[in-house]
């Protein structure tokens, strides 16, 4: 905690060439009046070239801060990044490169789409200008060429008659259209990674469907990797290959989307899945996760989920659980149930989850 990024420790080895982004032990703190608050606390994951990853969590879980840290969009201070943290992108460590070098990565190799398309677009410039300035900057093209490229990007995201649309201002468009503009902007320099932070949360269901389909199609066409941040397990199930579940600043579970959603191992993920209303649960009570997300000012001492956890026992209050392997190499869960101490309890807990999902006669078997 006292050591931050300014003191440069020896770096680990770069990841292999198939890995586009590797985040190692990422820690982000915020300096507030009475000390520092951990927003992201030891997060690690990696994204292969052209792959999709979903970061899932409720408000306050640290998922957006993770993305902003990777993009280096946080002001330091009040934010601080742990000295041991490393982010490897496309073969180099990017937390430590000078900001002006990082600027050449942002928008070009790594682009970001935000939640609120209205506030994320500058109200006083036309959308054409907002896309073209990025193209001019990164691709060193002339104004004419940049405009053509903006039009092309808008056409790619399905905006009709883009030649006239580029002269419009953001307020003259609907929410879905603005989000398409944001996506076009992100695409304009053909990035290797697109980070989408809750791209559909502010949109209606039918528009959300449009945008999700669009993102999928774009990703297939361009071969960019996609990092999708969302609180909606449904969106994750449809969009990504790999999932990272976050709770109170930590990764509590990760694995392929099938593994995590069909055979969850962390009690938090189990609880989330159980509490989603569905037709099968009609007529019965929904399972709930009792209590509320802890305040980052006042985190539980050991396991952060312990006060809300139905399976917790004494150990959970005394010792923080590590992220343990529960299958293949990148199938992890943070719970004492999956350490040796939990051997005797594991079976019953997993059975309890299966029972909770089995309401209304539909049985969802966990894959072996």
């Amino acid at each position: 905690m006292t050591e931050t990024i300014s003191a440069t420790p020896p770096l680990g080895a770069p990841p292999d060439r198939d890995t586009l982004l590797e985040v190692r032990d990422l820690r982000t703190y915020f300096r507030v009046l009475d000390g520092t608050v951990p927003a992201v606390d030891g997060v690690s994951f990696s994204v292969g070239r052209g792959k999709t990853i979903g970061i899932v969590g409720e408000s306050g879980s640290g998922k957006s801060v993770t993305a902003l840290t990777i993009m280096r969009l946080l002001d330091i201070p009040p934010a601080e990044i742990g000295a041991e943290s490393e982010v490897w992108f496309d073969g180099r460590e990017i937390l430590r490169i000078p900001l002006n070098v990082m600027r050449k990565v942002r928008g070009k190799d790594m682009a970001m789409i935000f939640q609120e398309p209205l506030t994320s677009l500058n109200p006083v410039f036309t959308i054409g200008e907002q896309i073209a300035e990025q193209v001019r900057l990164h691709l060193k093209t002339s104004g004419r060429e940049a405009t053509d490229r903006s039009i092309e990007a808008l056409r790619l995201v399905g905006i009709p008659s883009p030649e006239s649309r580029i002269k419009q201002f953001p307020h003259e468009m609907s929410g879905g259209m603005r989000q398409r503009v944001m996506i076009a902007m992100a695409l304009s320099c053909e990035p290797k990674l697109i980070i989408a932070d809750e791209p559909t949360t502010a949109l209606d269901v039918t528009i959300q469907a449009q945008i999700l389909e669009l993102l999928k199609a774009i990703q297939q066409r361009t071969g960019s990797a996609l990092m999708l941040i969302t609180h909606d397990l449904g969106v994750v199930a449809e969009m990504v290959d790999h999932v990272v579940v976050m709770y109170a600043g930590q990764v509590v579970e990760q694995g392929t989307v099938e593994e995590v959603l069909l055979d969850p191992r962390a009690p938090y993920t189990m609880g989330l899945l159980e509490s989603i209303p569905s037709v099968e649960k009609r007529g019965g009570r929904l399972s709930v996760i009792k209590g509320v997300v802890p305040s980052p000012f006042n985190l539980p001492p050991a396991c952060r989920f312990e006060p809300r956890c139905p399976y917790a026992w004494d150990l959970c209050h005394e010792e923080a659980p590590p992220l343990s392997r529960v299958g293949s190499a990148d199938r992890l869960a943070r719970c004492h149930l999956h350490t040796s101490a939990g051997d005797s309890r594991r079976g019953a807990a997993l059975q309890q989850h299966i029972d909770a999902m089995r309401v209304g006669g539909t049985i969802r078997d966990a894959p072996a």
Binding site: V32, L33, V288, K290, G291, V292, P294, S295, P307, R308
Partner: protein
Amino acid sequence: MTDSRKPQGAVASDLVRRAEEAGQDYEVGLESLSQMQLAWRKFKGHRLALLGLTILGILIGVAVLGPLLLPYNFATIPLPDKIVYEGRPPSAEHFFGETGGLQRDVFRLVVNGARTSLFIGFSSMFIGVVIGTIVGSIAGFVGGFVDNFLMRIVDVMLSLPVLFVILVASRFFGNGNVILIVVIFGLFSWMGISRLVRSQFLSIREREFVEAARAVGVTDRRIIFRHILPNAFSPIVVSSSLIVAGNIIGEAFVSFLGFGVNPTTPTWGNILSNALTFIPLGNWWWPLFPGMAIILTVLAVNFIGDGLRDAFDPRSRA
């Protein structure tokens, strides 16, 4: 609610379960503070605001007690041996120096001036706030034609260079009378407040908690006095501090030009007005101290205003 709601048997376990789900023990702290208490707590954390409050407290003490301890009754003070043209610089005996002419103690003048200046600043603010709140409430609540009419009046009043008009009005109506000056300043201090209150009415009226109150059958009167006005309170208080500051300067200015309070009553403006003639003599201490008194007062009031703004701002933390 009847006794059937008291927990019994199965119902009791149900209630316990509900309470468990609500997780009542994780978020709610032990202490319970009202918005006012919270605001005060934040205000106390604002060092400049506390400084302002201290200064203002001292100034008010001076204004109340000063004239009793150091009365401005020059009849009882022997006239100087001879009427000198030049004043005397600060000394151990007269630490703000002495004026030219009747050779008066500047400190004594400044102390006596505090009472009038503060009185005018605060009471005219009070008049302005009362008028502004009433006008703004009527406009905001009644709406339609009345609103339109009142707001056009505000437009007109705001388009007038107010100090210009006050100057003329003080000259023509004031006759040097403190109360009349207060009324005149009050009559020209309400426009900002009324706009503020009106906009608060318009926005708070649309808030869900007002709608909720209407849904449970709360009367309009209660909605105005218990829901809307208390929520409009903080912006009113903050802008009141600006009015006090403005009117203290305004009064000094009007008196300085000789159109305000009767020149025989010491106000900070009057003292400055007298000093102006003596500029060529270099009697710097004569205007310096009353001016510093004004700056100090206005600074104190502005600090308090800033503190209040932060204290009432829900985005800032205690």
